[in-house]
């Protein structure tokens, strides 16, 4: 009844691909942000899967995961704040219109 490690990894890769696709293809900054968060969670899932199958006796990975989630939360808060600031400036959240960094 045990689920093999590869299943978790495939799920993780699938999530990562979904996130990447979302981050690359959508115009809305918030959707891009969501895509990034999905990729982030794919990474954490990957980490936990490896822990469970290889190093279950050590509690370290929990700590890493919790840290990563906390940092992700903080990061998304900052990102949302940035989006709001960008919106105030451009009156839009469409990334294609933001080309001021053009070289």
């Amino acid at each position: 009844m045990s689920i093999p490690l590869s299943s978790y990894l495939m799920l993780s890769a699938f999530l990562f691909a979904i996130g990447l696709c979302g981050a690359l293809s959508r115009k809305n900054a918030i959707i891009v942000l969501i895509g990034i968060e999905i990729m982030f969670n794919a990474g954490i899932l990957n980490l936990m899967a490896f822990w469970h199958y290889k190093y279950i006796t050590m509690p370290t990975a929990y700590m890493f995961a919790i840290f990563a989630i906390a940092i992700a939360a903080a990061e998304s808060a900052i990102a949302l704040a940035l989006v709001i600031a960008v919106y105030r400036f451009y009156k839009s959240v469409t990334l294609d219109e933001m080309t001021d960094l053009k070289g």
Binding site: A23, V32, D96, M98, L101
Partner: protein
């Protein structure tokens, strides 16, 4: 405390003697022009302090005369060290130094006091006193040096200061020329001195004069060894060094033929003349010979001593003849200094260290007195230096007159004034050495008495031949004017007595000019001369010198005293009697013209010749090299630089620029684009990871 220990303790403080004037000079160099009073006060206080220290050292050396050896304390220390070689300098305290330092500081002190009056109107007062202090400091440094290095440094400093002070009024072209002349002429002598120092170092390996250390003996403690080694020109090493060193003294002490700078040095302010002629500059040469005297006497058989004596003798006679026919009050004194220095050098050459040094001391006092007196005359007559335009000053300037008279008698060698005793000592020493030199020197003594009498009568006797009272209506109150306090702004007019700070120094110096002569014998013992010496012939020498002095005075009176000059334009009485000779002497034997025709012309011709060589040969070679280099560089420029380097570099630059333009298109500001490239890169990396 033991006496020699006391001297050891004192010698460690010798540096204090030049220290005070040096500090005074340093401070004054920072003072502003209007700070006259602080400047003068500082100079005089500093000089007074160093005078006190010099006198303390002097009295300390007098104290220990029980045993016949000269007591000499030295203090050497390492100045700096490089590698294994170290440079020492040191101080010395022996009778020669102590007497000289006391004289320099004492006479210098009174000259400074007089200078405050002489320079009262000058706007560069502080600069003057700064130089004076430095002058005194360097001379005192020279006197206390126990090391040829220190001695030479101070020697050059003295030369520098005299250069600065002779040319103090540098805006006068004659002063500017005189300062250069003094510097260059003494420099010719300095070459000899430096060669002597180098040779001494080469032969002995040390520049210290005395060390009192058997392991590392000083240079003068090795003279007996030096006398046995051979030097140049067939002389022993000691005599060679002595000769070279003496050439330096010839430049500094204005011996023939390097005397030409001394009369021109009259261009400086009169206190400077007094300082140069009495205490510092010219005394340095004679003192230095006295300091190096063991080298001169080490080799009895050499001709160096005779050379020294004859140079002195020729100078003494030669300069005395010129002094007879001069009209400038200071120029007469200048040539008399030259002549008296000849006496000192002659005494040293005749083997009498005591005679030379004693005459140096007494001469310093009465020559300083005479120069300061002539300074008083110049100020009193409103900057008149031509004796023909003076006359009758005895009435107007009584104090100056009496002091000047004492100085004049001392210089002429009239007993009991100081000059008589010291000159007698020299004549006696010369008498024993060489009868001809003695005869010439006695003739010079006659001339000395004669020209000083001439000067006295021209300046102080008769009537005032300068500006007549009727020419100056504002000076009807001529008698009241004589009270010396009259403001000095009315130039021209009646002569007047000078203020107290000018006559006090000459009064003090005249006391010493009277009294100092009686200590000649004590001074001889003090310097540690062989007791007694030969008294043989003393009566002849003294009688002859008294006779010629009396003859000189009488002749002077007969020619200049009986019939006084009436007008400034009257010809000199001698001019009528000995026309050709007088003009010849008035033109100083045409020595300057001779130098102009020979040395100067030779140098100028050499200059033109070398300029031609420079233009044709050296410049030609240089230009050829330059042209070749230029041609080669042109070739390299076109082929190498323009084509390869510039071409290659330019192409490289263009490529980089194009590449940059292309790449900058990637950076279009769309964040998702960057992200795409990033993802693509990551994917490629992953693929590489999986398939390798």
């Amino acid at each position: 405390m033991d006496h020699s220990e006391y001297l050891q303790q004192l010698v460690r403080q010798q540096w204090l003697i030049p220290f005070f004037p040096l500090v005074a000079a340093a401070i004054q160099s920072l003072l502003k022009r209007p700070a006259r009073k602080p400047s003068a006060a500082l100079t005089i206080v500093a000089m007074g302090l160093s005078c006190l220290f010099a006198l303390r050292a002097f009295f300390a050396t007098i104290g220990g005369g029980e045993h016949h050896d000269v007591e000499r304390a030295v203090f050497n220390f390492t100045w700096f060290r490089f590698g294994t070689t170290s440079l020492d300098i040191g101080f010395i305290l022996d009778p020669l130094t102590a007497g000289m330092a006391a004289m320099v500081a004492f006479v210098g002190f009174w000259i400074f006091v007089n200078a405050t009056g002489y320079m009262a109107d000058d706007e560069n007062f502080t600069r003057f006193f700064c130089f004076l202090s430095l002058f005194a400091a360097s001379m005192l440094g020279l006197v206390i040096a126990n090391n040829l290095l220190l001695l030479f440094m101070c020697w050059e400093l003295v030369g520098l200061c005299s250069y600065l002070l002779i040319g103090f009024w540098y805006f006068k072209p004659s002063a500017a020329a005189a300062m250069k002349k003094a510097f260059i002429t003494t420099r010719i002598g300095d070459v000899g001195f430096l060669l002597g120092i180098v040779m001494l170092y080469w032969k002995t390996g040390t520049l210290n004069l005395y060390t009192h250390d058997a392991l590392h003996p000083g240079a003068l403690e090795q003279v007996s060894a030096l006398a046995l080694r051979s030097g140049w020109w067939g002389l022993s090493a000691a005599s060679t060094i002595a000769l070279l060193v003496f050439i330096g003294a010839m430049g500094k002490s204005a011996q023939f033929p390097l005397h030409v700078w001394l009369p021109d040095a009259m261009e400086g302010p009169t206190p400077v003349s007094a300082l140069i002629h009495a205490a510092t500059m010219v005394a340095a040469g004679v003192f230095m010979v006295g300091r190096m005297y063991p080298l001169f006497t080490a080799d009895r058989g050499s001709w160096v001593m005779d050379f020294v004596m004859w140079v002195g003798c020729i100078t003494a006679v030669f300069a005395a003849t010129i002094a007879v026919a001069q009209f400038d009050i200071k120029r007469v004194l200048a040539y008399s200094t030259c002549s008296q220095l000849g006496y000192m050098v002659m005494a040293l050459g005749a083997g009498s260290l005591v005679g030379g040094q004693f005459h140096l001391l007494t001469h310093a006092f009465f020559k300083a007195l005479l120069f300061l007196g002539s300074g008083c005359v110049i100020i009193g007559t409103h900057h008149e230096q031509d004796m023909r335009k003076m006359g009758g000053l005895r009435k107007y300037m009584p104090i100056t007159f009496w002091c000047y008279l004492i100085g004049m008698l001392a210089l002429s060698g009239v007993p009991p004034f100081a000059g008589f005793f010291s000159k007698d000592e020299i004549l006696l020493a010369t008498f024993h050495r060489n009868k001809y030199a003695w005869g010439a020197a006695t003739f010079a003594a006659f001339l000395t008495a004669f020209y000083m009498t001439r000067q006295m009568f021209m300046v102080f006797a008769g009537t005032w031949r300068g500006g007549r009272p009727e020419d100056y209506p504002h000076s009807k109150h001529a008698e009241a004017h004589g009270q010396a306090t009259e403001a000095h702004e009315d130039h021209g007019g009646e002569p007047h007595e000078v203020s107290w700070n000018m006559w006090l120094p000459i009064a003090v110096l005249s006391l010493f000019s009277i009294g100092l002569g009686f200590f000649g014998h004590n001074y001889g013992e003090y310097l540690g001369a062989e007791a007694g010496g030969s008294e043989e012939g003393k009566a002849v020498v003294m009688g002859a010198s008294l006779a010629v002095v009396a003859l000189g005075l009488l002749l002077g009176w007969a020619i200049y005293g009986r019939k006084k000059m009436e007008k400034a334009t009257d010809p000199d009485p001698l001019l009528g009697a000995l026309r050709g000779v007088f003009i010849f002497l008035n033109n100083k034997w045409y020595i300057d013209e001779l130098y102009a025709a020979t040395v100067y012309r030779f140098t100028a011709t050499c200059g033109i010749f070398f300029r031609l060589v420079d233009k044709l040969v050296v410049d030609g070679i240089l230009h050829a090299i330059a042209w070749t280099a230029w041609a080669i560089s042109q070739a390299f420029r076109w082929v190498g630089d323009e084509f390869f380097i510039n071409g290659g570099f330019d192409t490289g630059c263009e490529t980089v620029q194009l590449g940059g333009e292309e790449l900058s298109k990637l950076q279009n500001g769309r964040i998702q684009n960057y992200f795409r490239v990033l993802s693509l890169g990551a994917a490629i990396l992953l693929l590489i990871y999986f398939f390798t």
